[in-house]
């Protein structure tokens, strides 16, 4: 199971043609206390670069951008009631979407962990 990282501070793990997407701990730390999450619904399709959700901290609203093309298989419904879990376990239980990849070749455009660590310095 490989994990990929985007310049928008998302992680994606892939198993077959399904992937799990979330934000990195670095992103969560930068956002600060997260108080609200608005997500797409099951069946929604999106293209690379689309705005696929909003994460709001006390201070500001931030968009989640799709790192590749796909379709929402499931959104993590626990986040609506417990948005703060995104600060605590953004790379674990507080995943955001399960997605079906439309164009798995796009994974090649993403970073591996070593490259992402370099990216965030």
């Amino acid at each position: 199971m490989a994990t990929y990282y985007s310049e928008e501070h998302e992680w994606i793990t892939v198993e077959g043609d399904t992937a799990t997407l979330g934000i990195t701990q670095h992103a969560a730390d930068q956002l600060g206390d997260i108080v609200f999450v608005e997500l797409k619904e099951e069946g929604d399709e999106f293209s690379q670069g689309d705005d696929i959700g909003v994460i709001e901290s006390v201070k500001a609203a931030s968009e989640v951008y799709a790192p590749l093309d796909g379709e929402v298989v499931a959104a993590n419904e626990t986040l609506a009631d417990n948005p703060a879990s995104l600060n605590e376990h953004p790379e674990g239980d507080a995943w955001i979407y399960k997605i079906k990849l439309s164009n798995p070749d796009q994974l090649d455009e993403l970073m591996d962990l070593a490259a992402y660590k370099d990216f965030i310095g």
């Binding site: 600060g32 206390d33 108080v35 609200f36 608005e38 909003v54 709001e56 901290s57 006390v58 201070k59 500001a60 609203a61 609506a80 948005p83």
Partner: protein
């Protein structure tokens, strides 16, 4: 366009040491939060005490026997009868009745001590220099300003400054803290009891450390300052008040003393007196979104059936309220608390209600 490096306050090194996340705010390198986080800092201030660096604000001294009388030509406040040792919230207005800035004016005995917004010192100081005859206008550039806010503020400060305990809300004095003469004023911008302390810059870190050494005191940044003031229903210049709104529209009529309402004699008096008499067409109100989504500045306000009636000027999440809160202007016939309204958040209508300001009880020591 030239970009200048943001200025540093006398507390800069302490912010870095404490892990402050620094941002450029009004040309100053300021901590937006520390490792505790905005939510934690906010709640700590409501429960105990928080220390904020507000040294970016402009501190100005007005020397001259007629300073108080002449300030009345710039502000709709009464200063001539302001007793020594008292501070007053004030506004500079323009000829249209718009608000040029909000400020605190204190009678410090042989001078007035004035604190203005950081971003507006370059407007306010020339304004006073030009208008005030035979008054020396001096910006204080060698003093830090810190705010110690929260129900434990007195018990944090009094051990090193006994005089602080004798002050009540909006009183000011000078006293020694760690053998250094400071100006201590019992006021703030959080809705809590607390102080603002003007400290010679070379002693600022030492005194801040002494306060932070108290187990009830934590450092807090601009993020918590903003959420605290919003819950307290206090206006932020540039958001909730500006040249485009009058004190009456902004709900600041309480800040215009009776004599000035009657006599006028301040910029924009015609319009402001007319609005005091007949009401204004729009009003600043508190707003509680019904859902969890914060509604931030710029969000359109509509009636429940979709007619545009105004716009949000400040909004976000209130940690003490534990939900979204906002302030904004609406047509006066929709300003009654309890009125149901609609907010257009990211294109989608969301229900909300007009709410009285403040959102939390103010806990001043009267």
């Amino acid at each position: 366009m030239t970009t200048q490096a943001p200025r540093r306050t006398p507390l800069y090194d302490l912010h870095i040491e404490l892990g402050g996340k620094m941002v450029d705010f009004a040309g100053w390198d300021m901590p937006v939060q520390y490792p505790l986080g905005i939510m934690g800092e906010h709640k700590h201030c409501r429960a105990k005490a928080a220390l904020f660096d507000v040294s970016h604000m402009g501190q100005v001294l007005l020397h001259g026997e007629t300073a108080a009388a002449q300030m009345e030509t710039l502000c709709p406040q009464a200063f001539t009868a302001l007793p020594e040792g008292k501070a007053r919230y004030a506004l500079f207005t323009n000829e249209d009745g718009g608000i040029l800035d909000d400020l605190i004016v204190s009678n410090a005995g042989d001078h007035l001590f004035v604190v203005v917004n950081a971003a507006l010192r370059d407007q306010d100081i020339p304004l006073m220099q030009n208008a005030l005859k035979d008054v020396t206008v001096t910006e204080v550039t060698d003093h830090a300003l810190i705010a110690l806010q929260g129900p434990a503020a007195e018990s944090v400060l009094a051990p090193i400054c006994p005089a602080a305990a004798d002050l009540t809300f909006m009183q000011t004095t000078t006293a020694e803290i760690l053998d250094t003469r400071c100006r201590i004023s019992r006021l703030g911008y959080t809705g809590e009891d607390g102080y603002e302390i003007s400290i010679p810059e070379d002693k600022a870190i030492e005194i801040a450390r002494a306060l932070l050494a108290h187990e009830d005191c934590e450092a807090a940044g601009l993020g918590a300052r903003d959420s605290l003031r919003m819950e307290a229903g206090l206006c932020l210049y540039g958001n909730d008040i500006s040249q485009a709104v009058t004190p009456v529209e902004a709900g600041l009529t309480w800040a215009i003393q009776k004599r000035r309402r009657t006599e006028g004699g301040f910029p924009g008096a015609d319009k402001i007196q007319d609005q005091l008499q007949n009401g204004a067409a729009r009003k600043l109100v508190g707003i509680r979104p019904a859902g969890r989504a914060p509604a931030r500045a710029g969000v359109e306000i509509q009636t429940a059936d979709g007619t545009a009636i105004g716009e949000i000027t400040s909004g976000g999440f209130g940690p003490t309220v534990n939900g979204p809160i906002a302030m904004g202007y609406v047509a006066s016939d929709h300003a009654e608390p309890g009125t149901e309204i609609t907010l257009i958040i990211r294109g989608k209508p969301q229900p909300a209600t007009i709410h009285p300001l403040p959102f939390v009880q103010q806990n001043y020591k009267r």
